[in-house]
């Protein structure tokens, strides 16, 4: 494990925050409300590792991925690519795009239906400065990397002629053909058939192991995160609530939200797993002060409603943003510190 921590992160983010301002429906024009889509997220994407971000819809996980791809500009916080801090407000450059690539959820929506696969693969190559006579070979090489063999068979097909799994491989190939160091995959398997999902997961794992890509895997399926990831991060309402290395988070969840999430997963091997919750949770608004999970939390205490919990160390490489762990004051990690770095040397408050 120690050699992992010493590996420098390819892409890091520190205290990344994105707020959206929306109008309150039915009120005067001036009535505005701030949606805290992502609050104070810090993480490191390391070469040869898969970092999984798990959360339900609206937890901010996709906004986080788009900030990492610099499609959405953060409200505050910084991105550090290969040790170089990217100045706030700087435009997304071609150079950045060639290092960090994003794969989207729906391959049918992210490929142009009127163009052949060749076009989808060659266009980014040309934009990124490949020689015109090289692009076909490069495109073929990219298809081979995602196990679409023989590549000639796929180059001249249209997206509708491929199955969902094949097309998702094409969109991964398209991301790979500019030789990125970081691959951001936003729910890459949720639109696919069950029987082809594992193929895509194994492909991501292979790219990570064999080609030392840093992979961010965004999902709502915690079982697939457990299968794939070296680090698992759970987000709730824009905040990172729990994170762990390896499978500790799934095997011994500490945050009540993670516990609820895991108990909700249908698990045929354990028919006794039955999470139940109060009705109409979805109507709970995220509170302005205190812990965001407090209205749904079965263990809620007074302090939860008044003060946002800091991040507590609950195990080796395992942190939780929950007041339940406050009885161990030595475990307090400063809020939103890059925990990965501070492993072992916990900060006293």
């Amino acid at each position: 494990m120690s050699e992992i921590t010493t590996t420098p992160a390819q892409l890091s983010v520190r205290h990344l925050t994105r707020h959206f301002t929306t109008r309150v429906p039915g009120r005067l024009l001036h009535a505005k409300r701030v949606v805290r889509a992502v609050d104070d997220a810090s993480l490191d994407l390391v070469r040869g590792q898969v970092t999984a971000v798990v959360g339900e819809s609206g937890s901010g996980k996709s906004v986080l991925a788009r900030m990492l791809a610099r499609i959405i500009a953060p409200t505050s916080g910084e991105l550090i690519l290969e040790g170089t801090t990217i100045p706030a407000g700087a435009k997304r450059t071609l150079e950045y795009a060639s290092k960090v690539q994003l794969v989207l959820q729906d391959p049918y929506a992210s490929t142009n239906p009127v163009h052949r696969i060749r076009h989808s693969l060659e266009r980014p190559l040309l934009i990124h400065g490949a020689k015109k006579h090289d692009v076909e070979d490069l495109a073929k090489a990219a298809l081979s990397r995602v196990s679409l063999d023989p590549p000639e068979r796929f180059l001249d097909r249209y997206p509708h002629e491929l199955s969902g799994g094949q097309l998702q491989r094409v969109s991964i190939a398209r991301a790979l053909c500019v030789k990125p160091d970081v691959l951001l995959a936003d729910e890459p398997i949720s639109m696919l058939d069950v029987s082809v999902r594992l193929g895509i997961l194994n492909l991501l794992k292979g790219l990570c192991d064999n080609e030392h890509l840093a992979v961010l895997y965004i999902t709502h399926d915690i079982a697939s995160a457990r299968y794939l990831a070296d680090e698992i991060i759970v987000m709730y309402a824009g905040q990172i609530v729990e994170r762990s290395r390896g499978t500790a988070l799934v095997d011994e969840p500490t945050h009540p939200y993670t516990q609820l999430l895991i108990a909700s997963v249908p698990d045929p091997s354990d028919p006794t797993s039955q999470a139940s919750q109060s009705d109409e949770h979805s109507s709970y608004a995220v509170p302005e002060v205190g812990c965001r999970f407090a209205p749904r939390c079965p263990f809620v205490m007074d302090v939860c409603r008044t003060t946002d919990p800091p991040v507590f160390q609950v195990g080796e490489g395992h942190t939780s943003r929950c007041w339940l762990y406050a009885d161990r004051p030595e475990a307090v990690v400063e809020m939103a510190l890059p925990e990965r770095r501070r492993e072992g040397e916990t900060t006293k408050t």
């Binding site: 997961l201 045929p268 091997s269 009705d279």
Partner: protein, 388 residues
Amino acid sequence: MIADPLKTQATSKMMDMQLREVAPASAHHEFVLEVNNFNVDYGVGENMVRAVNDVTLKLRRSQVLGVAGESGSGKSTLVYAMTRLLRAPGVISGGDVTLNITNDGDSDEVTPINLVTASEKELRQIRWSHVSIVLQSALNALNPVLRVGREFHEVLKTHRRELTKSQRHARSVELLKMVGLNEDRLARFPHELSGGQRQRIMIALALALDPELVIMDEPTTALDVVTQREIINELNELRSRYGFALIFITHDLSLLIELADEIVVMYAGAIIERAGASELYEAPRHPYTLGLINSFPPMHGDRRELTGIPGSPPDLAELPEGCSFAPRCPYAMARCLHEAPALLNIGDSDRSVACWLHTGDSSVTVPVELSRSSSPSRAHVTVLQDHT
């Protein structure tokens, strides 16, 4: 036995009368729904694609039948055709569907109704009061310009004419309570509700007239896992209270194993395996079922590499000769490539599978992972797992 859809329409009334004569109305039927050799095509002539191929199934009263399959396996087409909701170019090209409805007052008396030949007028009487359906996208199923309460009122106004306005309101409130929603939701528009709340409204609407059979087509697929769990718990409770039979369609086999009494697995339009839920999970017989079960990464135990199923689901317009799963099957034999296996019972058990590995042919060695025996009780299995 391919029937001309136009012809069946014309003779529907006659057929229906005949059917009622043959089956005595007083006979107690343990099955609420019987489907025999059911075929559904898309299009006619050369470009015809068979989406549901020779499906036979039976559903007992108050039971949950799970239908599992990937996109294009024909699971949705099956239920749309069964309930006569299928639109052109979908055509029912053979087989029959019998719904045994109970008469009011006397639960022992049933009237069999052939849904394939039933007239629009008869269907209107059956739909909602005897069979109701919950679709995947509640946002599309609810009218966006009507308040939720209007939907309830319209159902009750059409089917329960004797109710007064205040009685209809009282019933709507009662239905919302049943699915754990507050009565003030009646005044809301669909877009003001969350996905889970909308799906609860759909379930409440489906139960409005106490149907005997509820069909749910991927009702939780668009929902978060936590909301899905709440809906499933709610559904289990409602079922034990009201005793309706349920057909639950999903691609999520692990969810079905928990929810259903019996599961049928569909592949390329045909049922390839049918078994009790725990039997299916513990002792799958068809290589595709085994592959599906192994496609879900486990939540416990060591992480090990899983392979899933190679290849991709077949195109119904270009089905391979022989077994449709053979090109993806790791156990495929020469025979599989030429002859399609029929869905047959295994030995004398009541589970069935369509696979040449399980025809009792002694020259075929069944791989060990497809010949596991299912344990007698689930409690026993849990204990065993704890020890390992």
